[in-house]
Symmetry: C2
Subunit: 237 residues, 2 copies
């Protein structure tokens, strides 16, 4: 049973689950992946904590993980990029394998077979400050480019708009920042915050073809891992 | 913590979760309702069981409910109409209150304040055969009307199309059956299978204003119940 440590935010978790269903080869209910989701919306703000402006979310994340373990999850995914700042700490506390969203994105970028130019990042201030992407993508030979300070402030504001349900207002802000990154030489722009694809779902084909959606990458990595599990052993807890 | 006994089907559960998020008054992640979802896609087919053509899904539903209890759920909802055939059996096995989707629909119909004409039902063959709606809606003074046998066969086929991801093909079939029910005198048509609103999401305003979406009604009933819980006691397990 796939365990989803979610709720960061709640709409992003729903978007992840929809992408999980779509990524699963299925013709009837029973072909889908049994999934246990903890939408722990009460987890303290991850970005505020990384910036030293809020409480540590790790205890609440550990409590949600314990609920998933108690419910019989056998493999964990976290549809929130910023939360991966605590990936190692969470993994240290459980025997269940926790997929890493940046590895899922790296697999996507490797499949694109791009060798020149940096990878653009649209991410929360917390994800950037924690250095999640540059360090982990460097292992695959990728360098990263982020918006300038004004652009990053715009991205952060757009993420908050999505969390408040004001998705339509966030879209043009994020599109402009994605285009700035491609103008600066990025061959791909990673939507490295799970709120961002919610706003860019209606982006035109030209822009969509340049974007790597971390939520979708994680969903496809989950399907691949669970189908491999199902071959190795029955999908029961 | 709200527990969702889901996966019947998986996409309908995602639709329910999206409606739950939208129905919640929230400006930030932490305003949302902590939710534990078991998307138990491996539960045997409910309709086949009611028609005497498949195994009993109750043991698998009880196992999913046990996972939710183990994970700390304090209140349960089931975003699948047909599964409510086993509502009483599930409720008998747990101290956690299980909301009833037909009661949520009845509340909606009462709010509409319609006193004349029957209520149309677009539902699975299992829901109709189990008599879930007529019996429970009669307590509120409503009578029900269902499609004729050919129409009902078309509805059943459309539900299977949605489960196979062929949503666009299902839409015109369901729209035609909804219009037949209104032509026969129904003032409201209940989308009494959680696959059906997935197909009718793009219906025109004229038709949409006549439809009562059971998924949405259940989501709003959950929000009301959980907000009342939060006033009575903190929302922790």
């Amino acid at each position: 049973m796939l365990g989803i440590l979610g709720g960061m935010g709640p709409l992003a978790t729903v978007d992840f689950l929809a992408k999980l269903v779509r990524a699963t080869p299925a013709r009837r209910d029973q072909d889908h992946i049994p999934t246990l989701v903890c939408s722990a919306a009460d987890i303290p703000d991850r970005v505020a904590s990384i910036l030293g402006q809020g409480p540590d979310p790790l205890p609440a994340m550990r409590a949600a993980l314990a609920r998933l373990e108690a419910g019989g999850a056998t493999r964990i995914a976290i549809p929130c990029n910023t939360a991966h700042h605590w990936h190692a700490a969470l993994q240290a506390g459980t025997a269940l394998p926790i997929l890493h969203i940046v590895d899922a994105v790296a697999d996507d970028l490797v499949r694109c077979a791009l060798t020149d130019g940096p990878v653009g990042l649209l991410a929360s201030e917390g994800t950037l400050r924690a250095g999640l992407y540059p360090e982990r993508l460097a292992r695959h030979g990728f360098t990263c480019l982020t918006p300038d300070p004004d652009g990053q402030a715009a991205v952060a504001g757009a993420i908050h708009l999505v969390k408040a349900g004001r998705v339509a207002e966030a879209a043009p802000i994020l599109e402009a920042q994605a285009l700035s990154l491609t103008a600066a030489g990025c061959r791909r722009v990673v939507l490295a915050c799970t709120e961002i694809p919610l706003a860019l779902a209606g982006a035109g084909d030209d822009l969509a073809s340049l974007m790597v959606d971390a939520t979708d990458a994680l969903a496809r990595a989950c399907v691949a891992a669970c189908l491999a599990d199902a071959v190795a052993l029955p999908l029961v807890a």
